[in-house]
């Protein structure tokens, strides 16, 4: 039975459980819902939950594990020699799976019947030709060991599927029966259902931790590899970034970190005031017409591919800043600058600040405004003194989100601020000059990973070390932010 059908059938059973559970609860209360512990629908959900959840969990576990077990037992039946020929067991298995699929197709198309397909032999029949006839892709001639393994594979898969179906339905029925039996007017169905939902909620939040663990694990190995090849002291304290194909690269993280901070700062200086004022205007002053048009329009800014912004920075903003500001002031003549990237990135970040802040300002209770108006404050005074402080935690969240996005951006930085790291050894003046070319950690992670350098060399592996360091640094900043937000969080009402 195909998985989809099993799932649907289990859901069908769950649905029946819902109605039966509901009716039974009502019945036990003599049709008077008031004497039930919970609302009738909770009894229904309780039955649904017990029917569906264990059955589907087992189904999922079975479907995940069974193929591995089948693969293992099939590969044991394949002679060593066959595996040695193809040099790898997983490739032989792929071939076996393909042959098995072709056999199934042959049966389905009526080329052979079920019985013959089980007893095919390469010496008596031209199996390869037969299987090719089904339109399946068979790469080489099917040999007897492969055919045998394929038949074994089919048999095992069939048996596994049968047991899977039986187990799933048995579990569903047991759950169903247990739930119905438990259903009684004094039974606390709501608590059980709510506990079930709580489990789902906790699981959903744990995904964040799992992701973090996954990220750390997937980078940790290569990072340790990197520090085996390159001194950590030079990496963390080095002030020069110049990778070299010949080795002997100087891979200091500091110039990249500085670039990241500087460019993000400029971007936020653009995005936060504009975004915040836009949000305030939209939520406090604008009529519904303007709001309905302007808000989605600004949100589109977040969806324009960053390459468009990048080209805009490269072709328009970069030369403009160079010719009108940097050169007249004698601050450099590079069309790549922190300013260019920051300005353009700031525009991209506007919706991150404005849209979220708008929703949050909108949610500040009207009573607070009315109170302020009642005391004679003007609209802007109300906003500054009452609404913004009330909305502050949410606004900080929005700004943090924008900052996160700024740190992670690559295309705008590459085209706006260039790919050369900050020249830290040339003195403070060069470092803080916003009209100098600089680059960020993220840009270098991408470029070292997608470059042409030897993948086992420190020049490529440094990408993982950069990624992990950035991860740890932002983690630190976030702990700090959490602390600050918590300290200043106020609840109004």
């Amino acid at each position: 039975m195909p998985v989809l059908w099993i799932v649907l059938a289990v859901f069908g059973l769950g649905l029946i459980g819902y109605f039966v559970g509901r009716l039974r609860a009502l019945g036990s209360a003599g049709g008077d819902a008031r004497t039930l512990h919970s609302l009738p629908s909770y009894y229904g959900w309780h039955a649904f939950m017990l029917t569906v959840a264990p059955a589907l969990l087992v189904l999922a576990a079975w479907s995940l594990l069974a193929p591995n077990l089948i693969d293992r037992s099939v590969s044991e039946t394949i002679p060593e020699a066959t595996i040695a020929d193809a040099s790898n067991a997983s490739l032989v298995l792929a071939e076996v799976r393909r042959a098995a699929g072709a056999l199934d197709a042959a049966v389905a198309q009526g080329l052979v019947d079920q019985e013959t397909s089980r007893n095919l032999h390469t010496e008596s029949t031209d199996v390869t030709a037969l299987l090719k006839e089904t339109g399946s892709v068979i790469t080489s001639a099917v040999t007897q060991p492969i055919l045998q393994a394929a038949q074994e594979f089919r048999a095992l898969t069939k048996r596994s599927n049968l047991y899977r179906t039986i187990t799933t339905f048995a579990l569903a029925l047991i759950g169903f029966g247990f739930a119905i039996k438990r259903t009684h007017k004094d039974f606390r169905a709501r608590n059980v259902v709510e506990n079930g939902i709580m489990v789902i909620l906790v699981l959903a939040s744990s995904i964040a931790i799992l992701t973090t663990v996954g990220i750390v694990l997937s980078m940790l190995f290569e990072t340790s590899h990197f520090f085996g090849l390159y001194s950590w002291r030079e990496f963390f304290l080095g002030t020069k970034w110049s990778p070299d194909f010949r080795g002997d690269s100087q891979l200091g993280i500091l110039p990249l970190l500085w670039g990241t901070l500087y460019i993000s700062l400029v971007a936020l200086l653009v995005a936060v005031p504009i975004g915040l004022f836009a949000a305030i205007y939209l939520s406090e002053y604008a009529g519904p017409r303007l709001r309905a048009v302007a808000k989605p329009m600004i949100e589109i800014l977040a969806g324009i591919p960053t390459i468009v912004y990048g080209l805009f920075a490269l072709i328009t903003i970069g030369p403009m800043i160079r010719d009108w500001i940097a050169q007249p002031l004698g601050l450099g003549n590079s069309s790549n600058s922190v300013m260019t990237a920051g300005l353009v990135m700031g525009v991209m970040l506007i919706p991150f600040v404005s849209s979220l802040s708008d929703d949050i300002i909108n949610a500040v209770p009207q009573a607070m405004r009315d109170g302020s108006f009642g005391l004679g404050a003007t609209h802007s005074e109300t906003i500054k003194q009452v609404v913004l402080p009330a909305a502050l935690p949410g606004i900080v969240g929005a700004i943090l989100l924008a900052a996160s996005r700024a740190i992670g951006e690559t295309m705008i930085v590459v085209m706006g601020a260039g790919a050369a790291a900050a020249q830290m050894d040339q003195g403070l003046g060069e470092i803080i000059n916003p009209f100098q070319a600089m680059t960020t950690v993220t840009v270098k992670i991408v470029s070292q990973l997608t470059g042409d350098t030897d993948f086992a060399s420190p020049e490529t592996l440094v990408a993982f070390a950069l990624g992990l360091s950035l991860f740890v640094i932002t983690l630190g900043l976030n702990v700090l932010a959490l602390y600050i937000v918590r300290k200043y969080r106020e609840q109004y009402e």
Binding site: V3, L64, G101, D244, V414, T450, F455, A456
Partner: protein, 346 residues
Amino acid sequence: MSLFKLTASTVAIAAVSATAAIARDNVQVAGSSTVLPYASIVAEAFGENFDFPTPVVESGGSSAGLKRFCEGVGENTIDVANASRKIKETEIAACADAGVTDIIEVRIGYDGIVFASDIDGNGFEFTPIQWYKALSDKVVVDGALVDNPYTKWNEVDAALPDQEIAAFIPGTKHGTREVFEDQVILAGCEASGDFDVFKAANGDDTKAAEKACISIRTDGVSTDIDGDYTETLARIESNKDGIGVFGLAFYENNTDKLQVATMSGVVPSTESIATGDYPVSRPLYFYVKRAHVGVIPGLQDYASFFVADEIAGPDGPLAAYGLVSDPELAATQLIVEELKPMSEGM
């Protein structure tokens, strides 16, 4: 609560179908973005002319391609890695550790590297010495090493036009950068005789002297490009004085916007590079996992088709696009035909 039902069912369906063990039936290629255009031209023609599905060709750089190539053997690893450089010893070792042995190396031709400027600007006739003098961090003036003082081309060499030096060279991630440093800057450094001064300054250490020669100035005269040639072109369009480093194929497609500079008096073209007259070029390769041949449908056909005369030959579509075809193509075809792994093939 319907949200949760939806999630639960989707997760279940996703998890279940994930293990449906679908055998892969297309060739999977990854690697260098320089080889990508050629590989996609071949893949397209392959899909048109064979009953196999069109191979999937990924870009992402030689390094990432070879890394995934060396991830192991099996269906969820790639079959072919494109590279704009030869595979390194360390990489072969890493491959072997993961069980990837018997790698077939196929050289498909050469990539010419050219210098081009805006079509309406001055024309240039370069020598490596001029590039070295224009871009090296330190140059020799009156026998002494000094910070590079040149800001105009005619200061470097009176024969060049009076134009600001603004070079757009490939960033350190690109393999082209290595070729540029070795075959242009270092060659210029040695040809100008300055190399000995560097050597003396570095205590007779040849390696340190080479490194000093090729370290590029960081005062904004030269700009590293980590993006693609399209970015270099856009930069030249916004700065008409700029001179960029391009692949020959890219220049060939944009002859209405760019004019190419000669190097040591030779105009770059597929012919002059094939004969070796034009000095700046690099070989392009792809690597095939022998273990996948015969298992992944169409893999060997794809490899043979790639190096066939009608594709990779001097009159084929690859050459028309700008690939410098390999004069020793017949030897390569033999390697592919016999599936000769590297150790034996070399």
